[in-house]
């Protein structure tokens, strides 16, 4: 492997991985990965979803046991499978999914485990003083006595970083740290990272976003299918080279052609919700979806996307306001009415809402239409027809599965999503609700989903694309709206707003009343 450069900068090495291999059953998640991190250096570990980045970090930190190889920190070999040892060696980790206890305070979360469990008193005052100093020094503003559940995602990430610094971390591992941040929060994070490096910390930055990797790192390691596929000095590489290394092939993204929208299909007027679906409720929104148009909804997770998606899917009823479909006002609004009006749904979480993992491909394929005369006669299911339908989806959408009778949980994320596309696009729906349609998919599958969405748009479907991935929204949408605290911004045509302007709206600026961000 060209990633092995042991001995090159021995004196400055703070962390070294030697031949780390990890298997999950037949899947090789990491295949003899070796690299060295030096003092004051930022290494970016770049790779697609499923390339093995997170597994590697979990081995490094002791959450997983490596099957082969070992980790050295400051010249000492770390005992495998012990986060405690990694912490003691000065390795701090900011996990992709935050490891915070929501109903506890910031201070309690940070100080957790820093005192012996047998001590009779928790030294709150000392902890408070230390947290205040650290947050001032590194620009990590957060209120120590706030409860974590009241914090924004950006603030939670600051707590995670403070947790590591509180324990005198000298190596900081950040796993996809920007996935949940607004562009402004990302900039703030990068400023913090610069301060950390200036103080002599070393950083391992894991990402699949090329721009960030280029902006923040000194050196880039590209991980593909568990192996190090290449190593470049950041100053001597570029986007396209890294992309090719990451994918192993060139992927062509579908191109958007200009296209005049048709008639209004669905119209939401003055909709308010209070139902519990997670995140903010909708606060008097108006939204129109037109034929042959993709309306992109950008926003930080938890600002009402879930409520809007549930509303359109028919699983959440509005408290006030009207829903009109082709001018006709909807009375009782349920999932069944939504389906009857040909709303195709790609749900946000394919594992929990989209599919039933333990049921097979056929059963999942007909789960939205099993009651129709197509698949049921006099109360009995027509399994032959159902199987033919499932086989048609498998063929047309290229779903790789062992058999139509295999349980859906055996399918990879990309293939599960293709099955959902096949189900949602059956019978050419008039409206398509695409909620985070490419989350967790690899680059090839992303391109496929994008192509299918554009194809549906070109044949005249009205599409609402809800995504936390701003690049995706920008690439596909004919119109862009921003959602913040349950309110919608006015729509802007594609290209009318810069990323920075959208970012500001995502942070809640530019709406009628100033919402005010969390006081730090």
């Amino acid at each position: 492997m060209d990633g092995a450069m042991d001995g090159a900068m021995d004196d400055g090495a703070v962390l070294r991985l030697v031949g780390v291999t990890k298997r999950f059953g037949p899947l090789v998640a990491n295949d003899s990965v070796s690299f060295t991190l030096n003092k004051g250096e930022v290494i970016a570990l770049l790779g697609e979803n499923g390339a093995g980045k997170t597994t590697l970090m979990n081995i490094l930190f002791g959450h997983y046991l490596a099957d082969e190889g070992h980790v050295e920190a400051f010249g000492h070999r770390l005992p495998p499978g012990e986060p405690r040892a990694a912490l003691a060696a000065g390795i701090g980790m900011v996990h992709q999914h935050f490891t915070l206890a929501d109903s506890m305070s910031v201070l309690e979360n940070i100080a957790l485990g820093t005192q012996s469990l047998w001590s009779l008193r928790f030294d709150r005052r000392r902890a408070l003083a230390r947290i205040t100093t650290l947050s001032r020094d590194f620009g990590l503003e957060v209120h120590p006595n706030a409860q974590v559940s009241d914090l924004s995602v950006g603030e939670r990430q600051r707590v995670e970083i403070l947790k590591a610094l509180y324990r005198d971390a000298r190596v900081l591992i950040l796993d996809e740290p920007t996935a949940v941040l607004t562009p402004l929060e990302t900039e703030a994070l990068f400023r913090t990272l610069k301060k950390l490096v200036a103080k002599g910390l070393s950083i391992l930055f894991i990402s699949h976003k090329l721009n960030e990797v280029l902006a923040v790192s000194d050196r880039v390691l590209v991980l593909r299918s568990g192996k190090i596929a290449g190593e470049r000095a950041t100053s001597a590489t570029n986007r396209s080279e890294l992309a090719a290394l990451m994918v192993g092939d060139t992927v062509t993204e579908p191109t958007v052609t200009d296209h005049a929208p048709g008639e209004t299909v669905i119209e939401l007027v003055g909709i308010r919700t209070t139902g519990r679906v997670g995140g903010a409720p909708l606060d008097t929104i108006d939204l129109t979806l037109r034929e042959g148009e993709i309306t992109g909804l950008a926003g930080v997770s938890g600002n009402g996307q879930a409520a809007l998606a549930a509303l359109l899917a028919g699983t959440l009823r509005p408290d006030s306001g009207t829903i009109r479909i082709r001018g006709e006002e909807m009375g009782e609004w349920t999932a069944r009415t939504a389906l009857a009006h040909r709303i195709g749904r790609i749900p946000e979480d394919r594992h929990t809402i989209g599919m039933i993992g333990d049921m097979n491909v056929i059963e999942n394929a007909i789960s939205e239409s099993y009651r129709s005369p197509r698949f049921s006669h006099r109360g009995l299911l027509d399994w032959k027809g159902a199987e033919d339908f499932a086989r048609a989806i498998i063929r047309d959408y290229d779903v790789k599965c062992p058999s139509p009778r295999a349980p859906v949980r055996l399918l990879s994320g990309g293939n599960m999503q293709k099955l959902i596309l096949g189900r949602a696009f059956d019978g050419a729906p008039h409206v398509i609700l695409a909620s985070q349609p490419t989350r967790g998919l690899d680059v090839g599958a992303v391109a496929y989903v994008h192509a299918k969405l554009l194809e549906a748009r070109n044949r005249g479907a009205a599409i609402l694309l809800i995504s936390e991935d701003l690049d995706e929204v920008l690439a596909l949408s004919d119109r862009i709206l921003v959602i913040s605290k349950g309110r919608l911004s006015p729509p802007s045509a594609r290209g009318a707003l810069t990323v920075r302007e959208i970012g500001e709206r995502m942070a809640g600026h530019g709406f009628q009343e100033e919402g005010g961000i969390h006081a730090a």
Binding site: H63, L65, M93, L100, A101, S103, L117
Partner: protein, 313 residues
């Protein structure tokens, strides 16, 4: 005497606190387990074991406090069994808990029969005696109710304060709460989730067993079958009622005990005009109503009933 006068008699409040005491112990025990993320439905059985072992120790000539200690140890033993099955092995906490209750109850009855084959009426022991706290026990109504009880009752109240202190003011309390909220957070800080949860279940079960022992050693003075009579299940509801907070759970226990003491006296006042079963039902009906009102907004420990397997994807 009419229905309102009952509330003004000293003996009523003495009874309330006495009835509340075992509930307080067991509720604190369940609360400790649940704050660490482990539902312990073994509570009913563990209370039975505690009632029996405490009583047996004294019956065989042991000291009263030795009886309490033995009961607590028996609680620890069954707690560790529950912990072993649900924490490292990650089995269903519901099923395991019910299994523990069945096992512990049956084992107790079996042991009782084997140890005392010839007994027809349950033998009595010399129980804990009321210990008036000098100066305070003279206060009207409050004095006898709060300050002229047996040492175990005082211990129950001290336990609430200790549990509250530990949960909020000590490192182990923070770890315990965190393990019930997000075990991954605890693991990431280098603390063993298994150790914290096992410890919590063991200590919590000891409290439950002492709650059971209160019944034989400070209330009924003997052991008989079915004596726990659903008190364990009530304690599970009290934890919810108290929103997993020791102080509010204590309040719930006292409230339930007050309903219970009140209905007994109300039966006498009404003199048979209403079937007594209606009164027996009263505390439970009121508990359900209280749960509906109070507990709907309660925020439960997020990782309650979620087994944690290290390194699982």
């Amino acid at each position: 005497m009419d229905a309102i006068d009952i509330l003004l008699t000293g003996s009523f409040w003495v009874a309330v606190i006495r009835i509340a005491s075992p509930l307080i112990f067991a509720t604190m025990g369940e609360l400790i387990c649940e704050r660490a993320g482990v539902l312990n439905l073994g509570i009913e059985g563990i209370m039975t074991v505690g009632a029996f072992t405490g009583w047996l120790t004294v019956y065989l000539g042991g000291d009263l406090w030795l009886g309490v200690a033995i009961a607590a140890l028996a609680g620890v033993a069954f707690g560790l069994l529950h912990g072993l099955l649900t924490v490292p092995l990650g089995l269903s906490q519901h099923v395991t808990g019910i299994g523990i209750t069945l096992l512990a109850t049956s084992l107790t009855y079996f042991t009782y029969r084997v140890a005392l084959p010839e007994v027809t009426s349950p033998p009595k022991i010399e129980p804990f005696q009321p210990f008036p706290l000098p100066g305070l026990s003279g206060i009207p109504i409050v004095g006898p109710a709060l300050f002229n009880q047996t040492p175990l009752t005082y211990l129950a109240f001290v336990l609430v304060a200790v549990v509250a202190w530990i949960l909020t003011r000590t490192p182990v309390g923070i770890a315990l709460r965190a393990v019930g909220e997000n075990p991954a957070a605890v693991e990431a800080q280098g603390i063993s989730v298994t150790a914290v949860r096992m410890g919590a279940v063991a200590v919590g079960s000891a409290c439950m067993a002492v709650g059971g022992a209160f019944l034989t050693m400070s209330a009924f003075n003997s052991f008989f079958f079915e004596m726990i009579n659903g008190r364990g299940w009530v304690c599970i509801a009290l934890v919810v009622f108290g929103s997993w907070r020791p102080g509010k759970a204590l309040l719930g226990a006292v409230l339930f005990a007050a309903f219970d003491a009140y209905q007994v006296r109300l039966q006498q006042v009404t003199g048979g005009a209403i079937p007594y079963q209606v009164f027996l039902m009263l505390p439970y009906v009121l508990s359900i109503l209280a749960l509906i009102v109070v507990a709907r907004r309660a925020s439960y420990p997020k990782a309650l009933m979620a087994p944690y397997q290290k390194g699982e994807r």
